[in-house]
Subunit: 241 residues, 2 copies
């Protein structure tokens, strides 16, 4: 599927995008020479909504960077599906699989119209083996990712649905500037998946949070009493970062 898009939609990367990629922690410290090698091999791709980009169990041919839109990492097993992460610009994905040169452990699909930059895995591994700064940046990035996954694991194992939701609301509010109004960037269906619950349960959990000053106003979530919500949520830097 990817190769189709490579030939039909793959285009040269815009300079503005390239600058943004260059500024990422993963790429900012490597030599200009080595970055140029990656850049010339990179392609910009645009995907429609709800398109599967990669499939778990297959081998990685590219390192991807989300430039625009959003990408959902998910896994399926025995008739069940679960969301691992939702990625927004500017983040890389499948770096671990590229470095290990081993199969993907999760699939990826677009949630919206999405643009990515894809760098051939061979080029990435080549740079990894020849650019000291890049190797260090990759290690640092993977350490961050590892921490993030451990946090997710703790979030799953130590909190109930309602608490995960409460903490997600607090975190989303902080990211959006403590306006006490959260505007959803995607549907509640997707939010439910990313919080590890069913849409039905998200509805019920939101209803339960009204006891702690959470009101739903159309597409918005309003925090009326952040102290009450925090007392219930019990946010922790050791889980929420």
């Amino acid at each position: 599927m990817l190769s189709v898009f490579l030939t039909t939609r793959g285009i040269l990367v815009r300079h503005s995008d390239l600058d943004a990629v260059r500024a990422l922690p993963l790429f900012c410290s490597m030599s200009q020479d080595n970055f140029n090698k990656l850049a010339t091999a990179a392609v910009l791709q645009e995907f429609p909504q709800h398109m599967e980009l990669i499939t778990e169990g297959t081998l990685p041919h590219f390192l991807h960077i989300v430039i625009q839109g959003s990408v959902e990492m998910f896994c399926t097993h025995d008739g069940h599906e679960t969301t691992i992460d939702i990625l927004r610009p500017m983040t890389t994905f499948v770096l671990a699989a590229v470095i290990r040169d081993d199969i993907y452990l999760s699939s990826a699909r677009t949630l919206t119209l999405t643009q990515t930059i894809s760098i051939p895995a061979l080029s990435v591994r080549d740079a990894f083996n020849n650019d000291f700064s890049f190797a260090r940046a990759i290690a640092t990035e993977l350490a961050e990712r590892y921490s993030g996954t451990v946090r997710s694991l703790k979030n799953e194992k130590l909190r109930t649905c309602a608490k995960r939701l409460a903490n997600w609301i607090l975190h989303a509010d902080a990211v959006q500037g403590n306006q006490r109004v959260i505007v959803l960037a995607f549907g509640k269906r997707t939010l439910a998946a990313s919080l590890g619950m069913t849409p039905e349960n998200l509805s019920r959990s939101l209803a339960r949070l009204s006891k702690y000053g959470v009101r739903i106003s159309g597409r918005d979530i309003v925090i009326e009493d952040s102290f009450a919500l925090e007392r219930f949520a019990k946010p922790s830097t050791l889980i929420d970062g």
Copy 2:
């Protein structure tokens, strides 16, 4: 607590242990010079059973390697505790925290009498910044760890207690050489924790697995019908590795 042991129990590392460490993927490719620097700063420590080695939320001063015994990584939050991983020789731990130079996300305690080698975090980061091969080895190790954590997350979110147990039995049997008899290396209490369930539930889950040819014989778990067990467990290389 650690510093007490450093002064009272910390001793020079034996050459045989050092050779074993040198042979690990993480250390085998670095220069002899840089390895020697780490080795001279390293200390061998012995800890009694059930001793907390590190506490979540504190900063890492050492990279640790389990030489003998076993170490449980666990997390606590809001009155609950969960086990993240159980480490046996020869594995390193808290590498991500050392590289990030940020707080531990989980605590560690010994399950048995345990020996570790501890390398000062400063020395590790120094080598990370000066030894290209070591930087690459760290990236590779972190990629492995990342994958392991994603697998754990999938195991938690996509399987019930009984299925996790069934797959654990199959995996443990494979590790011990397909004898169809698993001898527990630790108590069922700890096994329950590492499978993310209560001891009560482990008992009940084991009982339920008798339908699939799993028998308990004293301290051993016997697989009488591995086909039936596999049909129930549905093992997957995308989760179990």
